[in-house]
């Protein structure tokens, strides 16, 4: 078997144009899921909001249990129909089918990442003893300040290695957006593969691009970990 190197190079360059879309979906999902995932973790771990907790538990099971490709198809096929029914019922003059596919992709991935990260944050919250929050509150901080200034920074620090894996998982998951006709890295390569009947080459190129992205992400996280641990150890020496 010989590979069509010319095609590979062309596809590589072409696929790079999908990186902004991949990173956009990833970045928005992470930024939204950071606060939302924390709230979800706190509600699920707490005892106060029983109804919200029950709903979120079901939601988490759904996100964990239903294959991503099925979730994507539900979002892509079913959700616009539901929305347009609602719009019609309310006589809203909105053309639901004019909404770009990427909006649905982003919505789905925000929801998915929120649930996904909430599991990480739940584990992370157990690494910070509750007494620190009590101390913060008894020292005059509000509970919100106690979380944002004391608890959450420690959860994020302790969970950096897991968050790195989570981020890479998310990036790889976004490759399924091709099924929603969102033109990201995988979709571009897939289209090129179909047009030229060079499937092996196209997928090799796609793999290479994801490896580069994930490698970069890993190094960004390693850099952050080093900085954090340097901060905590700086004064131990001198």
């Amino acid at each position: 078997m010989t590979l069509n190197y010319e095609f590979m190079l062309e596809t590589f360059v072409e696929s790079l144009k999908g990186i902004p879309v991949t990173l956009l979906i990833t970045a928005i999902s992470l930024l939204a899921a950071l606060p939302l995932g924390f709230i979800m973790a706190l509600v699920r771990d707490g005892n106060k909001h029983k109804i919200a907790k029950a709903i979120l538990d079901v939601y988490a099971s759904f996100v964990r249990g239903v294959p991503m490709i099925v979730q994507i198809m539900l979002m892509y096929v079913l959700f616009p129909d539901i929305l347009s029914l609602i719009a019609k019922a309310l006589h809203l003059p909105i053309d639901i089918y004019g909404v770009p596919n990427i909006a649905y992709a982003i919505l789905l991935f925000v929801l998915w990442t929120t649930s996904f990260l909430s599991e990480t944050f739940r584990a992370g919250l157990h690494t910070v003893n509750k007494g620190q929050l009590e101390a913060a509150v008894s020292n005059g901080m509000t509970t919100f300040q106690g979380y944002t200034r004391i608890v959450i920074p420690q959860v994020l620090t302790n969970m950096l290695p897991v968050l790195c894996t989570n981020t890479n998982t998310l990036i790889k998951m976004t490759s399924l957006c091709f099924a929603m006709s969102v033109i990201e890295i995988t979709a571009i390569a897939k289209i090129a593969a179909g047009n030229n009947l060079c499937y092996v080459e196209a997928y090799l190129v796609t793999a290479l691009i994801y490896i580069i992205i994930c490698f970069t992400v890993e190094n960004i996280f390693k850099f952050m970990e080093r900085n954090v641990s340097k901060k905590y150890k700086r004064l131990a020496a001198g």
């Binding site: 007494g131 620190q132 020292n139 005059g140 901080m141 200034r149």
Partner: protein, 250 residues
Amino acid sequence: MLEVRGIQKHFGDQHILKGIDLSIEKGDVTVILGPSGSGKTTLLRCLNFLENADCGEMTMDGRKIDLGRASAKDKAFVKDRTAFVFQNYNLYNNKTALENVTEGLILGRHMHKDEAIKTARVALDKVGLSDRENYYPSQLSGGQQQRVGIARAIARNPEIILFDEPTSALDPELIEEVLSVMRKVANEGTTMVVVTHEMSFAENVATKVVFMDQGVIVEEDTPQVIFTHPKEERTFSFLKNIIHDTDYVI
């Protein structure tokens, strides 16, 4: 300055505090003794609203509070006038010793940062940790961490400091440095409520000793009376068990 009447607290169907009355005057050092599980921690936590009592009444600085229906304002009023020193220090692990003290002053008291740092340095100096202000808790010994915990409490200049077994998580050789800081704080006239098993502290520093058992106050008196001729049999047998290497003849 602080008076509580009839504090009751349940955890589930467990009756933990069965009607506690306590009255604390300015400058008092009240030591609470009692066997493990008798409700000492729960009592302190109810005094600071870390835990909400089921019922009871509190009067602090002339403000009367129904503990069963305390409002957010009531709680803020009390929290602002009390400070808590925890058994396991509960320092903020992501903050330096100095920041552990300043954080609450800046956020809770809305103190300007420079002023908060100044106040915190005075407090750290008082507990003998001026040279450790930039250390993180993980870089400090248990004794040093607890002294930061005390600095964090005194920096807020509270009317009362509540100590919950401040030395019981410490290795024996580290206990004295914390007790000596506490003695110093007491000698400055700070009002303190201290749950401890350190009998020497109770005997030498306390102005009043309270003996608690099974959710009630069995007996309270001056340390002289409690340690030499307690009225209640339960107090006597508790003290007899705890002071085995005894200088005290009861």
